[in-house]
Amino acid sequence: MPKVKMPRSTPSLDMTPMVDLAFLLVTFFMLTSSFRSPEPVFVDPPASTTEKEIPKQVFLVTIDETGRVFIDITNAAVKEKVLRDLMVDYKVGLSEEEIKKFIGSGPLGMRLAELPSFLAQEAEKRAKIAEAAAGVPYDTANKIRTCELYNWVLKSRVVADNDFKMREAAAQEKNQGFDKDNYMQFVVKAAKDTRYETVKNVIDVLREARVSKFQMITGLEAKPE
């Protein structure tokens, strides 16, 4: 009996739909994903049921479990102006290049005086130093107005206010629409296990600088019926 010969066919299949799908998904994820900004400390905030989204422009105050404070300003122009102002106040000398480095370096968690030596380091070393930093100093005793956190907040508030007015005026001149909600807001992100007293002390410093509205960052929790 002769062997039954199976017809030989090439084992290729049409992959076009699969590629289509794969690229569709790639595009979707590329467009929707936003990358997490570099953080020197990982902070796990508590959850709440609010559905309000985080504002576009923020002054972020991060408080970790041990009470270290890190600050960041999302608006690069404001961040630069504030730094320049504070450099004069605290007599810290930084080169133009170092200022640029600072703006791109994410949250700050150290004294201003430590900045020059910090920025002179290489990028990898900087990340490590930032992790081990002692935080921006804040003092809630009687000398509240001399602490660095207070000055950062106060300067930022003033600079952001001016920035907002300038943008508004520019938009009016060109008869363009202006997003009134796009102003810098103060956002506090604290870890679950931070003692409330610590958070309150930090908030007290901000209140001293006449900031009274805060957005507390929380994770999302399902809303009850």
Binding site: T10, S12, M15, T16, M18, V19, A22, F23, L25, V26, F29, M30, T32, S33, S34, F35, R36, P45, P46, S48, T49, T50, E51, K52, E53, I54, P55, I63, V187, K189, A190, A191, K192, D193, T194, R195, Y196, E197, T198, V199, K200, I203, D204, R207, E208, R210, S212, K213, F214, Q215, M216, I217, T218, G219, L220, E221, K223, P224
Partner: protein, 211 residues
């Protein structure tokens, strides 16, 4: 996989020269590999749950606070937030005879208490919500009217809740309490600065921790 046929010249002389027929298939395997690699990367790195924010407004600092009226606490509910996720409450003013009850952060604890205390406002607000759902969204006058009624109800709300914390309370505890206020729509609540007073400390210390 692209097949190449050799010896296309079999037609002999005089025949028309035909263009070689070549398969138009392209090997797509590397493309698929790349696409899936990128896909995996973006799936793994994307953060879906954007953080949400809870709005908190603190009063501005006032140097001289002797003239500030402390909130009336006659019928107030005072919530005492302590360490180890313990939470207590009592109603009215504190005295040695006050009964302080321990509750918890669950649905059956704090939320049930607040819902009961805030029952009147909650039912009124629910009625208005139903009314709001029935009215046409474009009818701004009607919507504004309901909005005003809601604000009025909140202003007239009789329930006042005070929150006090001791130095062991965590940030999570306070946010949880705030969140419960939002869920149960408590209109008037205050977080005080001074911490527990002596009587509260004493009474709380007498309550044995739950197992």
């Amino acid at each position: 996989m692209a097949e190449i046929q050799g010896g296309g010249d079999s037609q002999g002389k005089g025949g028309k020269k035909r263009a070689k027929k070549q398969s138009t298939r392209v090997d797509m395997t590397p493309l698929v590999d790349l696409a899936f690699l990128l896909l995996t990367f973006f799936v793994l790195t994307s953060t879906f749950s954007k953080p949400k924010v809870l709005r908190m407004i603190f009063p501005e600092k006032i140097e001289d606070n002797t003239n500030i009226k402390k909130p009336e606490v006659r019928d107030a509910v005072t919530i005492l937030v302590s360490g180890d996720d313990r939470i207590f409450y009592y109603t009215g003013q504190i005295s040695n005879a006050t009964v302080i009850t321990e509750i918890d952060y669950t649905k059956e604890g704090l939320r049930k208490l607040l819902k009961e205390k805030n029952f009147q406002l909650l039912t009124e607000l629910k009625k208005l919500q139903v009314k709001l759902n029935e009215t046409d969204e474009k009818d701004t006058a009607a919507v504004n009217k309901i909005d005003r009624e809601v604000k009025k109800l909140q202003k007239e709300s009789k329930l006042v809740v005070l929150v006090k914390n001791d130095d062991k309370a965590t940030y999570k505890n306070i946010i949880d309490v705030m969140d419960e206020f939002m869920i149960t729509q408590v209109a008037k609540y205050f977080v005080t600065d001074d911490g527990f007073n002596a009587i509260e400390k004493k009474l709380v210390a007498q309550i044995p921790p739950k197992k």
